[in-house]
Symmetry: C2
Subunit: 342 residues, 2 copies
DNA sequence: ATGAAAGCGCTAACAA
DNA sequence: TTGTTAGCGCTTTCAT
């Protein structure tokens, strides 16, 4: 075990008091330049590092940010959460914070985890993902005055008391739809999730908007289903059977898009040809997951790394000084990654 | 902010000393049953939780386990690391630990991160992934007596002083090869990484062994290249061009396998058909990533969740009491997930 | 079986 | 500008 260097060791070696060492580190401007230099030299020489636990006891700040790591997903959609965590950890380190992980299944389990964590490790803040209508987690934290940001807007509250960062999903599906329109497609369907999910409704809206802009309606052109490959395939088949005129499909996720690809065939190289013959239907997914890249699926890409760094920056600002700052809301634009499928 | 409940509050409400509360929580057997009950009731009622920072100052134990989260990968191979982290976090919580994240690029950056972390947050242990020959991280930790486990065996040291958990990669490729042999394939190639990587050599060895068992040699049947899709495609094309008799390919990763699929075509449904005609070559990958599932690639699956829980259990045992226990080495068997590609 | 005292390493408040 | 004092919440002695 590495021998422990305390502030007292530094003070002794530098010939100053412990307080002066502390000041040098935390309020350098209050220490004479010469003294500061001497102290910093000793700090360097001895490899001193402030002990977080001790500092935390005095200041009440742990410099820990808690984030949930999702239970293993289908691996397609899960990748967004993982990329987000990567980004958070990197930005956090730069801002002098560390990310503490926890797991929870459902809102209530998650608020229980908040309670545990706050009682024991006292993270300075939480970062939440996948906000939804009537999110009990945000109200729990807000009621207790615990700082937090969310990746995902406050769906039920346009003037939320907390910061959020989100990606403009509607803009994404709108861009995808326009891209298809520009290619000459006129009957463009949509595969999404059942109404009521903020994210899903938002993505459907972008598609609808793009069609409306060129005077096209949406009746009979969309299907809603569970977010997985098999349901996606089923829904796509149903939609295409009912309306053989459809030549392109915008999907709310890569999972659904992958399912759709099983019944559709994009122009150019044949991607997923089942045993039977297929229609040349273009497909666009959402999230630009590794699977999309692997199979050549055109997909809407969310700037996850930026979302993560924005979340942390908003948090850090408020944590380090600007406690009373009004909440900020950030809506970042996605981009369309065009591949062979559409 | 939640009002803080301290051990003193509990002591007062239960009519005992703070010490008795502490004993009730840490050494229950030393407290009279009746007293214990009373204290626990109050703990429950007040929602008391021991403050980690304070406890850490006394005991020197943080109940924090540090693990690295990889910078964003190609998304194919990265998924193993993410699944591992999921598993760690879940098991850790069950054992009363939390996972603290850090990032680092390269061995030296990682040992620097160790130093930082140990000085500041004092994690009780580290969990390392992707060990390799001459791993500077393990020697750094070992020299300083910091507890750690690795996912990945100690390639350079059969009698390593630390615990490790690994998956028997050779057994995986051997099973894959046997599976292909059982299907009637006789000329089975291998796509792997340049010699010298423990993991890669191990996987190649399993393939070689399976062929040797049935009296087949390996000359001219393998190619080594960088672990990515394009190099995999290139190597596969080269291999198949040189030896048109090859009917199946075992690959050291799903990335390579995906590349191979671009030039091969599995029996059954056609998966990835380029513009040109293709040979019906079976392909098996390694890691069973989401991409493998999505495209119907047969792949060797590592029991990542078990690896993670084993790592943590070994650590927890040594941390909570059995400090002097001799190191344990665990080699877990992988399994073959058969899909359409082979 | 229970309680009192001490101190882990740090920094806010105050004194010099 | 620098040093002294006190105490954050807990657990390890040691005394009762």
């Amino acid at each position: 075990m590495a021998e422990k260097v305390t502030i007292a060791d530094v003070a002794r070696a530098a010939g100053v008091s412990r307080q002066t060492v502390s000041n040098t580190l935390n309020t350098p401007e209050v220490v004479r330049a010469e003294t500061r230099r001497r102290v910093l030299d000793v700090v360097e020489e001895l490899g001193y590092r402030v002990n977080q636990a001790a500092r935390q006891m005095r200041t009440g700040r742990s410099r820990l940010i808690a984030a949930r790591i999702d239970p293993e997903q289908d691996g397609i959609n899960g990748s967004v959460g993982d990329r987000f965590l990567h980004g958070l950890t990197e930005t956090a380190a730069r801002e002098g914070y560390r990310v503490l992980l926890y797991t929870a299944d459902g809102d209530d389990a998650e608020t229980a985890a908040f309670d545990d964590l706050l009682g024991a490790y006292e993270p300075d803040a939480f970062v939440l993902m996948a906000t939804h209508h009537g999110d009990r987690r945000t109200s729990w934290l807000a009621e207790r005055g615990v700082p937090f940001v969310t990746f995902g807007r406050a769906w039920s509250d346009p003037a939320a008391p907390h910061c959020w960062v989100d990606v403009d999903g509607a803009a994404g599906t709108e861009a995808a739809t326009r891209h298809l329109l520009a290619q000459g497609h006129r009957r463009i369907g949509f595969l999404g999730w059942p109404e009521g999910s903020g994210v899903g409704d938002d993505r459907r809206e972008g598609w609808r908007r793009a069609l409306a802009e060129v005077g096209l309606g949406v009746t009979g052109l969309h299907r809603e289903t569970e977010d997985d490959v098999a349901p996606g395939e089923h829904a796509a088949r149903d939609l295409l059977d009912r309306d053989p005129g459809i030549t392109a499909l915008v999907c709310a996720s890569d999972s659904l898009a992958l399912g759709a690809l099983h019944v559709a065939r994009a122009p150019g190289p044949a991607w997923l040809a089942g045993g039977q013959s297929h229609r040349p239907v273009a497909v666009v997914g959402f999230d630009d997951t590794p699977v999309a890249k692997a199979i050549g699926l055109t997909s809407v890409r969310q700037p996850i790394a930026e979302v993560a760094s924005s979340c942390l920056r908003l948090l850090a600002t408020r944590l380090d000084g600007g406690a009373g700052a009004p909440p900020e809301y950030l809506l970042l634009p996605p981009s369309l990654v065009v591949r062979a499928s559409g």
